[in-house]
Amino acid sequence: MRKFKEFIIEKLVLLCGFASIIFVGLIFLFLLREGLALFKTAGPFNFLFGKNWYPISEPAQLGILPLILGSLLVTVGAAVISIPIGVGCAIYIAEIAPIKIKEMLKAGIELLAAIPSVVLGFIGMVTLVPLVKNIFHLPTGLTALSGSIMLAFMAMPTIVSVAEDALYSVPKNYKEGAFALGATHWQTIWRVELPAASSGILAAIMLGIGRVIGETMAVMMITGNAAVIPHSILAPVRTLTATIAAEMGEAVVGSEHYFALFAIGIALFVISFAINVTADLFLHRDE
């Protein structure tokens, strides 16, 4: 009887072991199931490179180029801000900060990672958006720039913690060797530790950017939601994620609009999949 019970339990354990694979497969399957239906009526080229996103006009125009460019602009902006700051902070925590401050900083970074994105979006709306509006004398502060700044803060915890791990795992004798040769601490960091940790830092940056591309609520609340091709970082934009979040509520199940939003979901899933697999390869090169 006990043997039988253990047999059942072990099979259950095995099944749950595969759960993550099953769920990734299910997500992809269901996105495809709903999203591919779009291409019965619209060509993939027109979908990806169409310049107009008018989902409720008659006939609907479903070109996601403005949304792709919106996501791209906001992401590049966030990357420019968050990469130097995030990597710099990781070096500070890993190398320079005294042990007590190090623990506090790490807790602070965890705190930032824990703040829900809708709260960050709200704070962005009441502080950052008016600030951007006044500094640049704009009709509205809901711009790609505001979104970039806010998203940079969502990417930083990922960048800092993964990069800090990478720096921490550089073998201690590399550092001792450099010191023994008379290098200063900074020379050691710059010439020895950063190159040694480069693949981990690269992974950190990729994961941070992955976080930015997938971020939804904050970006929807502060980028102004204008689905037009952006001409400047000070113009309102709309991202891929925000489009899904803003429009799915009104899209009729089974309509072309509904399928198009799922097709955007496929694009997002594929992008995040590619980023995560590549970053994982960088992190586990030796395996």
Binding site: I21, G86, F122, M217, G265
Partner: protein, 282 residues
């Protein structure tokens, strides 16, 4: 000639600057929300129904809704996540298959939250015909927090020394008995940490519940798991962007309650982890 020590001073100054550029805004965010949100909090705000199109009254249904969603998510994710962690830590052989599973976990953790929303809509709401309901929302959130629970539980299980298992096995216990009575009890604090972190994540996410459960305005408490509910993060989103002329106090108050809830859970998780590390027997 370049002076390496001066270069170092300049470099370290900039590194400190980057750190401050993260720490100060984070501090400001928390301070602003506490300063402006705390005065809005009173018993009535926490225990009353919203009134006048959410411009007045309390946020009780949103708090209750979030509580139901989070409980549902954990009820679903904890057993699966824990068993998956047991598989990875105790049964898997470290081969290609294990690598594939780990890759799947990483990917699951990286899927954008709004894509979870789409998935929940397609699978639970439409395909299984659960409709927009607590059930659909909880399951969607549950799948989303699965990677957090698996990863932290696995770390906790793997940190139990190998010798514990060997002693148990040498005394004639079976593999499952060893896991059940030796490995699991020693990993409980770590598993708890992961579970609470998952709870915090589920409580704060908005995008996955947008199309699977969240109700715009529903001033009553749910009766069954097939009811729609309001939820704190979605409520904050709509009173910030969709409803005009909401009193600032209501917004900050809602943001405060949500932030306090999430940070409290994280704090508890950090404390458990800290105590556990200090009292480790090995």
């Amino acid at each position: 000639m370049k002076n390496p020590h001066r270069t170092q001073r300049i470099a370290f100054f900039f590194l400190l600057l980057t750190t401050l550029l993260i720490v100060i805004p984070v501090g400001l965010i928390v301070v602003i929300i506490i300063q402006k949100g705390l005065p809005a909090i009173n018993w009535q705000f926490l225990s009353a129904m919203p009134r006048q199109g959410m411009r007045a009254g309390g946020i009780l249904p949103a708090i209750v809704g979030t509580f139901y969603l989070v409980s549902g998510a954990v009820t679903f994710a904890l057993p699966i996540g824990l068993l998956a962690a047991i598989y990875l830590s105790e049964y898997s052989k470290g081969n290609k298959l294990t690598r594939l599973i780990k890759l799947a976990i990483v990917n699951l953790a990286g899927v954008p939250s709004v894509v979870y929303g789409l998935f929940g809509l397609a699978l639970f709401v439409v395909f299984f015909k659960f409709g927009a309901s607590i059930l659909s929302g909880s399951l969607t959130l549950g799948i989303m927090i699965l990677p957090i629970i698996i990863t932290t539980s696995r770390e906790a299980l793997e940190s139990v020394p190998q010798s514990f298992r060997e002693v148990s096995l040498s005394l004639g216990a079976s593999k499952w008995q060893t896991i059940r009575h030796i490995v699991l009890p020693n990993a409980v604090p770590g598993i708890l940490t992961g579970t609470i972190l998952g709870l915090g994540r589920a409580a704060g996410e908005t995008a996955p519940i947008l199309f699977t459960v969240a109700a715009f305005y529903l001033p009553r408490l749910p009766h069954s798991i097939f009811d729609q509910v309001m939820a704190l993060p979605y409520h904050l989103y709509i009173i910030s962007t969709q409803v005009p002329n909401v009193d600032e106090k209501v917004r900050y108050g809602t943001a405060f309650v949500l932030l306090a809830l999430v940070l409290m859970m994280n704090l508890v998780a950090i404390i458990i982890r800290y105590k556990f590390r200090k009292n480790k027997k090995w």
